[in-house]
């Protein structure tokens, strides 16, 4: 399953932040998304995940093939690690959580309520969720936050195994994961907030700017 992005413009609060994005994420490929804070990486990932509509352009991928790993892990503090994981597994119609548990070294924590986990352990559990979705395209937003070196290595291994199995991943991160990966710098795609009329690109508010310019 290929993720192809054509002439994509993404917006935050109705204002374009990145525009003219063209890239393809093929099976077996890892793409690292780089760019300074506030450059629109999260907005891009949310748009690709189908959580918000693009301003222009197209994303050719079935949303059912994509899973999105956000800043927040979506964990319930009162549920145990196993309950959290089983919940997401059954939402995605998967019954075997063993690979996810072993992949992120959670075996010893299964009975623990998530409230008692450390920040890094929570993150590991949040990443383990990716494995129980059974989806080939991973979109990850700063997945290594609060992970220690050993856990980052676990994560890199998981990505490697995922890619080897025909999956793909688009990862926004600032650290070097030691993966075979290409890099996509969003810097050059920064939207020009000062564009006036006469440009080829028209967003939802172009009318407005015309009315007052």
């Amino acid at each position: 399953m290929e993720l192809r992005v054509e002439n994509l413009t993404v917006a935050r609060g109705g204002v374009p932040v990145l525009e003219g994005l063209d890239f393809t994420l093929s099976p077996g490929q890892v793409l690292i998304l780089r760019g300074p804070n506030g450059s629109g990486k999260t907005t891009l990932l949310r748009t690709l995940a189908g959580l918000q509509p693009p301003l222009t352009g197209s994303v050719s991928a079935d949303p059912e093939q994509i899973t999105y790993g956000a800043h927040a892990d979506g964990l319930k503090a009162t549920l145990s690690v196993e309950e959290n994981l089983r919940f997401w597994a059954s939402v995605h119609g998967i019954s075997d959580i063993a690979p996810a548990v072993d992949g992120f070294n959670l075996r010893g924590l299964l009975e623990r309520p998530s409230a008692n986990l450390s920040a890094g352990q929570k993150r590991r559990l949040g990443l383990a969720r990716l494995l129980v979705t059974g989806r080939p395209i991973w979109l990850l937003d700063e997945p290594t936050v609060s992970l220690d070196v050993a856990s980052v290595a676990l994560f890199a291994d998981a990505v490697r195994a995922h890619v080897a199995g025909g999956g793909s991943a688009l990862i926004a991160t600032h650290i070097d994961l030691g993966l075979q990966a290409e890099t996509l710098d969003v810097g050059p795609f920064k939207a020009d907030v000062n564009r006036r009329r006469g440009d080829t690109h028209r967003d939802a508010y172009a009318d407005f700017d015309e009315a007052f310019s």
Binding site: Y205, A211, F212
Partner: protein, 244 residues
């Protein structure tokens, strides 16, 4: 040339700027004589005595209160279906006018009710419906006020307006049913057909036209203000993004 072109902000700003003086002028030449005629030159009615004069502020405001909500429903639907910015801004602009009309209708009704029925407030179906309509206006306006992002606010208030309209109609039926259930028979509301004779009709027509034109003038001004606010918000976001 289709009607939808006026939903474009450029056209709207240009056109509304042109027609506004005319609307205001027409409003002045209907509303002022209508009110003066209604207040000074109408005879006593057999059933109501001089209190019939209240009708010239009560009935137009009550009609506008309902019609403005209907207009908001239509413009909200247009926004949901065709995403015309002017449409949803007009809806927002109309809400304050609608709530004012509702309040006028409620207060004048209560004041009139005292001499007529011996009480300021009765849980008559019509009065109760207006009270409920007032609550719906409040909710709609509060939701607008609570959301920062103009697009999000437009979407959510439109959904609320559509769902709210359905429940407002349901409430109307429920209230009718409920009141009949409690006190049988005697309805306290006015029978309009009966008491609008020709002497009262002409000034009433002027007042109704005047209220409609007043609403049109105000909603145009307020919509223009809302559109400017969107533009302002946009300039604001740009500036902040440039700093970032």
């Amino acid at each position: 040339m289709s009607l939808w072109e006026f939903a474009n902000p450029v056209k709207f700003m240009a056109l509304s700027g042109k027609v506004l003086p005319w609307v205001i002028g027409l409003c002045a030449v209907t509303l002022v004589p209508g009110l003066i005629w209604g207040f000074f030159f109408t005879p006593e009615a057999a059933k109501f005595g001089n209190s019939v004069k209240i009708i010239y502020v009560h009935v137009p405001s009550a009609m506008m209160a309902i019609n403005i909500w209907v207009m908001m429903l239509v413009t909200s639907l247009i926004w949901i279906v065709r995403r015309h910015h002017v449409s949803v801004r007009a809806s927002k602009a109309a809400a304050l006018i609608g709530v004012t009309m509702t309040v006028i209708a409620l207060i004048t009704g209560a004041i009139w009710g005292q001499p007529m029925w011996g009480t300021y407030w009765a849980w008559d179906p019509r009065l109760t419906s207006f009270l409920i309509l007032f609550l719906f206006y409040l909710g709609y306006m509060a939701l607008w006020a609570a959301i920062d992002n103009p697009d999000t606010a437009a979407d959510l208030t439109s959904v609320l307006c559509i769902v709210g309209s359905v429940f407002a109609v349901l409430s109307r039926y429920a209230v009718n049913f409920w009141n009949q259930g409690l006190h049988q028979g005697a309805t306290l509301s006015l029978d309009k057909e009966e008491n609008i004779a020709d002497v009262y009709f002409a000034p009433m027509l002027l007042c109704l036209t005047g209220f409609v034109l007043l609403f049109v003038a105000l909603v145009l001004i307020r919509t223009r203000t809302e559109l400017r606010l969107v533009r302002l918000h946009r300039l604001d976001v740009r500036e902040r993004m440039k700093d970032a």
